[in-house]
């Protein structure tokens, strides 16, 4: 509920939304906390907290490496959930979406997983390898706990399938920008913008566009073309990955990058009428 409310508020304020995506524990838990604080302070409207997984098949090299680093530090799924609790206790009240590959969820037990997420203060769940056909059990458990199970659509998703996804969607629809995996990319391709309109025509649910968003310009373009906001992940991880010895020293750059992104989201919304 909190997610959709927040996104509708932003829409009313004519602001594009920004949801940074971080893998918790990369390279250390302490850094993740500082990173989240930085993001919250520099323009993030929602937060996507990833649970590191050994085989993140929907992720590209940047996030795959992030998972490997976190796991080699001994990060466990329950630490990620505990971290959300701590963020809440520190007063960070942005809507939080937890991303976990399905084996983590399945292993945890879907019902218990949702209960624990709710208790920690999370608002939604993304399972990158759980298409709508396989989602029944989790969807039910999530609903029971007032959590949004976020579904994705991709450039390869057919019209009829978009409808099928929309029938189950809540919170927002995650528009996968590219055919591929997460990771920074050069340009936003026309098919991405077409996909946004194709979904837009069919739903009033908020749309966040993710995968490959790596610049303020990307963000602006996506929002200008109908997205309610963007998800930015690898592009942020890429910044601190370049200085893993002292990732804290990169927070300033991340702060300004995120501010730019947020500004671009706002700008994109302004440009929208012109298009």
């Amino acid at each position: 509920m909190r997610i959709e409310r927040k996104l509708r508020q932003l829409r009313e304020r004519r602001e594009g939304a920004l949801m940074p995506h971080v893998y918790y524990g990369d390279p250390t838990p302490e850094f993740s906390f500082e990173l989240v604080r930085t993001l919250a302070a520099s323009g993030a409207d929602l937060l996507e907290v990833g649970v590191p997984f050994s085989d993140p098949i929907a992720d590209g090299p940047v996030f795959t490496a992030a998972c490997e680093r976190a796991l080699s530090r001994g990060i466990k799924p329950r630490m990620c959930i505990a971290a959300i609790e701590r963020l809440r206790s520190e007063g960070i009240d942005l809507p939080v979406v937890v991303t976990a590959y399905y084996n983590i969820v399945y292993n945890w037990g879907v019902v218990r997983f949702c209960a624990d997420l709710q208790a920690a203060g999370a608002d939604g769940i993304i399972v990158p390898d759980l298409p709508v056909e396989e989602s029944e059990e989790l969807l039910e458990a999530a609903k029971d706990r007032d959590l949004d199970l976020i579904f994705q659509v991709a450039p390869t998703t057919s019209e009829s399938r978009i409808d099928k996804v929309l029938r189950k969607a809540s919170g927002f629809v995650y528009v996968i920008n590219v055919e591929g995996v997460t990771g920074p990319r050069g340009d936003i391709v026309p098919s991405t913008l077409q996909l946004i309109s194709r979904v837009r025509e069919r739903t009033s649910l908020p749309l966040l566009a993710g995968f490959g968003v790596s610049s303020a310009d990307h963000a602006r373009l996506l929002v200008a073309n109908g997205a309610d906001g963007v998800v930015v992940g690898s592009a942020i991880a890429e910044i601190y990955s370049k200085n893993l010895r002292n990732p804290h020293s990169t927070l300033e750059r991340i702060r300004s990058f995120v501010s730019e992104l947020k500004a671009a989201c706002v700008q994109g919304m302004r440009e929208r009428k012109r298009i």
């Binding site: 098949i57 992720d59 399945y106 292993n107 396989e134 995996v181």
Partner: protein
């Protein structure tokens, strides 16, 4: 439900891949039964792959064990293993789907090799993802693939083994699925792969059934196959699933020992979970992180068991077993000396199980071992084991 074997199977992938999996399922169901496809597939199986493969009565192994042992000679398939049955089928399918490129992963190199062969015969570009560690261990197969003109791409993620190569191939496929077919190498992965692979490999069991009836006038008492994903086992077992008198054994890699991280025995050490698009028996830690498997047989070095094998072992129709590395090497030697055949390390798991589990077999029983591949690729490892330790 389609794509499920009991609770196992399914299609746990990114939305990006759903489209191509649906396309593949539709194409398989439409194209596979056509006489044109059947004719071309079986013609290639016969004239290119070398099918039917013989069923060989192993006299001296039989004498040694007091059993009546037959070997189903998949080592005689072009390239040296059963893998080509599936690769030819999928390559033909991909061609008819209008794809122009095949990607796949390989561990022992046998599947990669078969994919490269099938790609060349059918006329498709081939790229093969292979863990850096496996590239070292199976260097000669890397050479073969390259000589065939295939691009071999080293995988450095994870621990550089099969599991990581599958992940990277899935990632590559997500980027290129419109033009590219992922030629899945075993009976794993999201639906419809396990069913497609099992269907193409069933030729093993169909021949086996005809042959044993011709030679012995009856069905075997037991069929024993090695496996990880389980494609050779499922291929051999399928036509016998409803013959409840035929015992079926699935032998996985015991590795060095069952403790710590020295094994690939997922039916002993694992539990159900989701990996690479399917719910199946998996080696994983308490949190659901996938555990790296370990065995000297690269082709068994995978932490998951295909959904159908997972299901059949859960229901008890198939009995899982394992063989330790040292038993496997001894079985290679025994087979070489008794029958003049050098089995692949993978295959030798099945043989080792029969040699070392007299309690499972009554005297004189008719036992068929699926001889899934030849050991040329493992020659150096075998020689090192016997002559340098």
């Amino acid at each position: 439900m389609r794509g499920r074997y009991g609770r196992f199977g399914g299609r746990y992938v990114s939305e990006v891949l759903i489209h191509v999996l649906e396309e593949l399922e539709e194409a398989f169901e439409r194209i596979y039964p056509t006489p044109e496809f059947q004719q071309e597939f079986h013609h290639l199986l016969r004239t290119y792959a070398g099918r039917p493969t013989p069923l060989y009565y192993a006299r001296r192994l039989s004498e040694r064990t007091g059993l009546k042992i037959y070997l189903k000679r998949e080592d005689l398939v072009t390239g040296g293993s059963h893998k080509l049955n599936n690769s030819l089928g999928q390559a033909l399918l991909a061609k008819r789907m209008g794809k122009r490129r095949i990607i796949t992963e390989t561990a022992a190199g046998q599947h990669g090799l078969s994919a490269a062969m099938a790609g060349n015969v059918v006329g498709l570009e081939v790229e093969i993802f292979m863990g850096v560690k496996d590239m070292e261990r199976q260097a000669s197969n890397v050479k073969r693939m390259r000589l065939l003109g295939a691009k071999v791409t080293p995988v450095t993620t994870g621990t550089g083994v099969l599991k990581d190569a599958v992940s990277d191939t899935l990632r590559e496929w997500a980027k290129t699925s419109r033009t590219t077919h992922y030629l899945m190498g075993s009976a794993v992965g999201p639906a419809p792969f396990p069913e497609i692979v099992a269907t193409f490999q069933s030729v093993i069991g169909e021949e086996l059934r005809r042959q044993i009836l011709e030679f012995e006038g009856r069905l075997p008492d037991a069929i024993v196959a090695c496996g990880s994903g389980g494609s050779n086992a499922i291929g051999a077992f399928r036509p016998f699933l409803s013959d409840s008198d035929v015992r079926l054994y699935f032998i996985e890699g015991g590795g060095e020992s069952l403790d710590a991280d020295n094994s690939a025995a997922a039916f002993v050490l694992g539990r159900p979970g989701v990996l690479h698009g399917a719910l199946m028996q998996i080696m994983q830690d308490e949190d659901g992180q996938i555990k790296p498997s370990k065995t000297r047989a690269a082709g068994l070095n995978y932490p998951g068991r295909g959904p159908e094998i997972s299901y059949l072992c859960e229901t008890g129709r198939v009995k899982p077993g394992y063989a330790f590395d040292r038993e496997v090497f001894e079985a290679v030697k025994t087979t070489a000396e008794c029958e003049g055949l050098i089995p692949a390390l993978e295959t030798a798991h099945a043989i080792a199980y029969v040699l070392n589990h007299p309690e499972e077999f009554d005297r004189g029983e008719l036992v068929v071992i699926n001889f899934s591949g030849r050991g040329d690729k493992d020659l150096d490892a075998i020689m090192r084991y016997f002559y340098e330790d």
